[in-house]
Amino acid sequence: MYLAKIYVTYKPSILDPQGEVIKSALHRMDYAGVQTVTQGKYFEVKLQATDVDSATAETQSFTESLLINQNTETYRFDLSLVADEVDV
């Protein structure tokens, strides 16, 4: 089984209202060193696949078709092999 960790962020030109509000909050809380904040999404997906290549292809495919919005977001991901879990 593979574990895909997928990191989704806004494209640079897209307004990120959340990031701005969090940044101001950190400043009000006296974390003065904070320069920029962006908030994105983080997915962990476990999937069965015959090999890394097919796991990679599958992750890419479902990320692009469902997890992200290609108009506004970009992503990257890591894949690792993990032990099959036995559901109890």
Binding site: D16, P17, V21
Partner: protein
Amino acid sequence: MTKVSKEMSPEQVRDSKIYLDWSLTQEEYELIVATLDRLPNFTETGIFSGMWSEHVSYKKSKPILKKFWSQNERVLQGPGEGAGILDIGDGQAVVFKAESHNHPSFVEPYEGAATGIGGILRDIFSMGAQPIAALDSLRFGELNNPRTRHLVDGIIAGIAGYGNAIGIPTVGGEIAFDDVYAGNPLVNVMAVGLMEKTAMQVGQAKGVGNSVIYVGAKTGRDGINGASFASAEFSSTHESDRSAVQVGDPFLEKLVMDTTLQAVREYADIIVGIQDMGAAGLLSSSSEMASKAGQGMTLNLDLVPQRETNMTPYELMLSESQERMLFVVKRGEEQAIIDLFETNDLDAVIIGEVTDNEQFILEFDGEIVADVPIDFLTHAPKQDLPMAVPARIKELSSKQYLPDMSDLKKTVLSLIAQPTIASKAALFRHFDSMVRADTVIKPGGDAALIRVRGTQKALAMTTDVNARYLYLDPLKGAQMAVAEAARNIVATGALPIGITDGLNFGSPDNPEVYYELDQAVSGINIMAKQLNTPIISGNVSLYNETDGRAIYPTPMIGMVGLLEDVTKATTIDFKNAGDVIYLIGETEASFNGSEIQKMQTGSIGGQLFDIDPTAELKSQRLVLEGIDQKLFASVHDLSEGGLIVSLLESSFAGNLSFQVTTNWLSHYLFSETPSRFLVSVPADKMSYFEELGGQYVTKLGLVTSDDDWQITTATETLAGSRAETKKIYQESISWQLKA
């Protein structure tokens, strides 16, 4: 990314004819050259293309729009400003307008719909009015299309996401499904506001030397073709360079809204004009404010708050970043306004001034990058376009469709499951319809009703149009849209007082579409005059086509009504077993374009049945009179699906059944003859009501507390379990969305 590539020279603009890609015509470009008496530079060409686009200038629709009837004793502000205004007595006024966000919502359903709500609310509060409600009018393809289901989810979530957060209740709307909208959904939104007449603001930049203040969000490349637009290669690229998507920030807009209204309350004497930045952003808001006041304006673009780096003058002017407003403030008094916005953590910056030279001048990086006559910029040459009666209409058969009545029960059960008929509660339950605690009638009835706190008054509001009718006959169909909106208003007890419209059509360059537009406007006028509901604002969305196929002509009618005594508010639900059910109005064989024709044949066709404006007014007056005299326990209008659907809806809403007998043949249960209402009357008021209604009302039967409802026609008796039927009606849409 590299620094913005060098802009084209005026000669390169001319030689490459890049302006054609920006949808200026050759004649328009030549007119600009002749009027300026020189070649326009890159920025100037760009701002002409923005201001002369149909979306901003209405150059193609204006010859038709100016036919709208928009004056009566209540009108304080007709078309031409951010929103129209009507007098509602006691020194108060109601403000409303509609807006379309069709294309953005197709590309990006959540943000497209969300920013639609944001934009229409700005139109309202920029007039100095407190928004009190939002409504929508949506068109999708059929629900068996996965892409459509995705659009429905995103668009509903977008309206909810913005409206709920900013705290303006979404109280009504309408949704219909037809294949013609599959590649071109319609997202129209309407907002209603309330103000003291003395607080009225207009978008004008009067007074030479006065300051132009930019307020709200920073400017990014939202809604324009991003960096590529500024580069020489632009002409070779097209859809791939999708404009950077506009993202809405309802939190910021709430601050902008509250602070703007506070400014209007506290600094009325120093604010000269307010305008929101909508289509064509800073460009249209600034130039139109100056032009309306007969003044010029100079802006220094270096001062515009910017979210992205290396933005060009063209981008700064055309950006459609959300949550921004433009104020014109008396010279020397700016600081009070700036301070007010700053205490609420908002940018407020002086970016220019009103001038007396009637020129629109832009400075950037120490240079003058545009200098053009402002009236010329804001008045695109009008175009009179040819019209032709659509071939399809000429060929329509004059015979009315005859519904198949071989299995009445099955027909009724499938009819109430049709997505256009079934309850939309699964969708509108995502909207906060009660915030502000003034909602008297929530979604699910005919019109919504919002009380005016501190008075006995309430405002009714609705959106309506059946585009299938217009497809068969734009003139009559448009009359029916206005009539239906008014019936919904009247059913609550309110008097219809005015209209905003959203004219959604295909390409006006097609003479058949232009004809539809012209006919629709005429039809709206005919019924509006009959009902004394002037058209005080509206929106035009053209080019709604995919692969050469236009949508049905869809002029959304948004209507507002005034109820003087909110305690007389009436709802659609049956209230008491034993109340007597009546039909108001006459029923004919009206089946062409009906829901039953669509359901049974898969399409619509034949000449549309008639509407009689006199009969319409008569029905409405009778209902208003009856409500005023407290004769009715419930009132519901008849529309798509006919009598059977109204009976069932009143039954479901009240959790009571009915026992009804008519001498009709069964198929008349589905007739969509306009100008009808269903009312229930307590037994002790029966004879009085029958006297009042005379020939015009027909007794149908009784409200019962049975588990089953029952109808007897000339040929058969049909009964059904209320609980089971209600479940189908309530859940059909969710089932189809999950399919």
